[in-house]
Symmetry: C2
Subunit: 438 residues, 2 copies
């Protein structure tokens, strides 16, 4: 539902927010958890505007807002956003409207609010919330088919794929915010011709280009969320790199799924773009004419009309050699979240149809968002066709998989006619060498 906060003509008195390619114009207003770099300040929520951040603790202390917006601002001032997430769409909207009005050109609040901004360049970010449970879906049929082809050449797309929004539980403890550095995992692998497995550093380390979905209000155990209500439970979306060890996965994943191949590191962007900010960028959910229609609990008119999100996604790589030479990151692939075979609402309706309870701050990963053509693949496993066709980088280096010192950067933005472009910022992580094996 579009409202005055989406008006593409709105401009902010924060000049940087009005620049054409700025990720954080006044129409966006995403949330993060912030404090000044290298300080021991308390963590608190912040809202991006241009190259600045509105410090929600300062806004609350200054009593800038009234009513429900003030209530929401106080929740956003906490060290995690869980309480704000739990508060529900009415409070989220009230705060968004108050911020939008206070940040507009000629707003009466400008003189009071301007001193409460902090430059993004001066900030550190924390995980935006305590993530109780993390679930990873598998919603790109292009990814599922391409990967299936490598693991099961005779049976790439399993019979359940077009009926079940396939998902599995992941690990919360190893999720960190953009800037994460992590050691290459050691693990068991077994060569096809070997008698026994060995322990050693992962040789097929890979990124996964995903969107993350942060749950707002939860549900009670035993009470499913219907597809019609599902989006009321979505606080917002972020960028998400779900690091994967392909060789460890191949040996361990039968019969209970990926485990150590996935739980050593996953990185989220600091900024959560709210569901409300994404309203102008919704696109239809469709099925090819020869595909089955989803079961009734996964179907609704609203889901068909605008169940998907159009988010342009990009993966960039900067090797250690490139960084030393001062060369920028280079693009590995581009895709779009609109290709997802299952929508976020379907994921939520499916996740809870058995009564499973979601809690504020829970994270759903979309699964790797590969597009329909090969260059749109969201992982190196696909881009290099199973580690067989190396990618040549602009400086002549080659990659089959991620090497030590490589930095991966995911970015995303939304752009359609008639709306102001908004962006997700970036999520960045760097791989360090594996620790020695005992």
């Amino acid at each position: 539902m579009l409202n005055e906060t989406h008006d593409p003509a709105l401009r902010s008195w924060v000049a940087s927010a009005n620049l054409e390619n700025c990720d954080f114009p006044i129409q966006n207003l995403p949330f993060a958890v912030i404090r000044r770099t290298a300080s021991s300040e308390p963590w608190r929520g912040g809202v991006a505007i241009g190259d600045q951040v509105v410090d929600m603790a300062a806004v609350t202390a200054a009593q800038l807002f009234a009513g429900r917006a003030a209530e929401a601002a106080a929740l956003a001032a906490q060290p995690t956003l869980n309480a704000l997430m739990a508060a529900g769409p009415e409070l989220w909207s009230a705060l968004r409207l108050a911020l939008s009005r206070a940040l507009r050109e000629s707003a009466a609040e400008q003189s009071a609010l301007a001193p409460l901004l902090i430059a993004q360049a001066e900030l550190d970010y924390a995980l935006p919330c305590t993530i109780g449970d993390y679930t990873d879906f598998y919603s790109s049929i292009h990814h599922a088919t391409a990967v299936g082809l490598l693991f099961r050449p005779d049976n790439p797309l399993l019979p359940n794929y077009k009926w079940v929004p396939i998902g599995y539980h992941g690990r919360s403890s190893s999720i960190d915010v953009s800037g994460q550095t992590f050691r290459r995992p050691n693990g068991q692998t077994k060569a096809a011709d070997a008698d026994a497995p060995t322990l050693g550093p992962c040789k097929r380390l890979d990124h996964e280009l995903e969107m993350g979905v942060f749950i707002g209000t939860g549900n009670t155990l035993g009470e499913p969320i219907s597809i019609d209500d599902a989006e009321q439970h979505v606080f917002g979306l972020c960028l998400f790199n779900d690091w994967s060890a392909r060789d460890i996965q191949a040996w361990e994943y039968q019969p209970l799924g990926p485990f150590l191949a996935k739980n050593f590191a996953s990185t989220v962007s600091p900024w959560i773009v709210t569901q409300e900010a994404l309203a102008p960028f919704r696109v239809p959910f469709t099925r090819a004419s020869d595909d089955p229609q989803p079961l009734p609990y996964l179907s609704s008119a609203a889901n068909s009309a605008h169940g998907n999100y159009s988010v342009e996604l990009e993966v960039q790589l900067q090797t250690a050699k490139m960084a030393s030479a001062g060369e920028p990151a280079t693009t590995l692939s581009r895709s779009n979240f609109r290709h997802s075979y299952w929508t976020v609402a379907q994921m939520i309706a499916h996740h809870t149809v058995n009564g499973c309870n979601l809690r504020p701050g829970d994270l759903l990963g979309s699964g790797t968002q590969s597009g329909p053509t090969h260059p749109e693949a969201g992982s190196l496993l696909e881009l290099t066709r199973g580690g067989k066709q190396p990618i040549t980088l602009p400086n002549g280096e080659q990659r089959l998989f991620i090497e030590d010192g490589d930095t991966l950067v995911l970015t995303g933005y939304c752009q359609v006619d008639g709306a102001r472009r908004i962006g997700f910022g970036e999520v960045r992580s760097t791989v360090l060498p594996a620790p020695p094996v005992n």
Copy 2:
């Protein structure tokens, strides 16, 4: 390592603790989180002794202990045990020793401590801690083989089983404490001869007889826990019923493992028996001569000498009809945790070998603990040979799987020559009818 707290000759001034088959003699001293039934008292830690509980908040307020024991007691007085779990073995041992001395016959503390006991019959229990992440292992080779035979008759035990302590991530949010009631899950299933799946109530609802392992001190991301150090990270063990929907699982589990088949409910016992209390009941970890030896990171002299735990386990069922008639629960099967193919130390070393971080309060499930013979199976799936051979109960009712109104009770105890028997109490849960499908 045995110490004075394990002395089988110790007796308590709490008379009920000295009864022969009492689960909670002075040699046990397990932890739970308690408050008076139907009260709004704060939750706090408690330690079982006989049919009483030592109220750790009252102990702390009364300043009964000094030094490290007092420090630990204050942590145990909190509404969750996470801080106590994080404090590490030295504090856990100090508190155990202080409690053991104060509860012994002729203890000087008797007059001060006696008024701080509450009868177990007057208490409610909460989850003992915030469970950050829950991981389920698959450590019974007898269960893996029996279930594999049903899902993959031509390939029951996969080639990785004897090398990899197979595990996968489960759901924290739906774990609750003994007394849990939950609605039968709805879910997608597909008959072999059907063109399409349908949504409806699970028809093959099953219990899983497991042990739960609560992690004490955690590890930093990127820093594996060696098998020699692993047991230093174990706070204690509990009983655990990991409810499963076999028909939902069969349709959804490829390629990423069980999801909705497992995340609708899991029940832990209120009492955590500490690792230290279990010292007299450790047994060797062995491998059949034609089985491979574990890789070095899963091997140690201590693990071979006493890596396993001997815990007698029992599953009981009370149907609604039995309950109405005042008939007690009937035994479905008995097993022992000593049959586990992988030890707790191996699970921890494996879980962290890739750098994955564990946090205080994390829960590891052992996987269903089926013994070597058919009557020792830890699930109905096995006992009824895939839902084909019904079990006849003493009142003439039959069961292939769990029906609405059924209550499952798991119990466990440790008994060896030369040690005082200790028990785990019980974990009890009741299945309610599924909600209507829209």
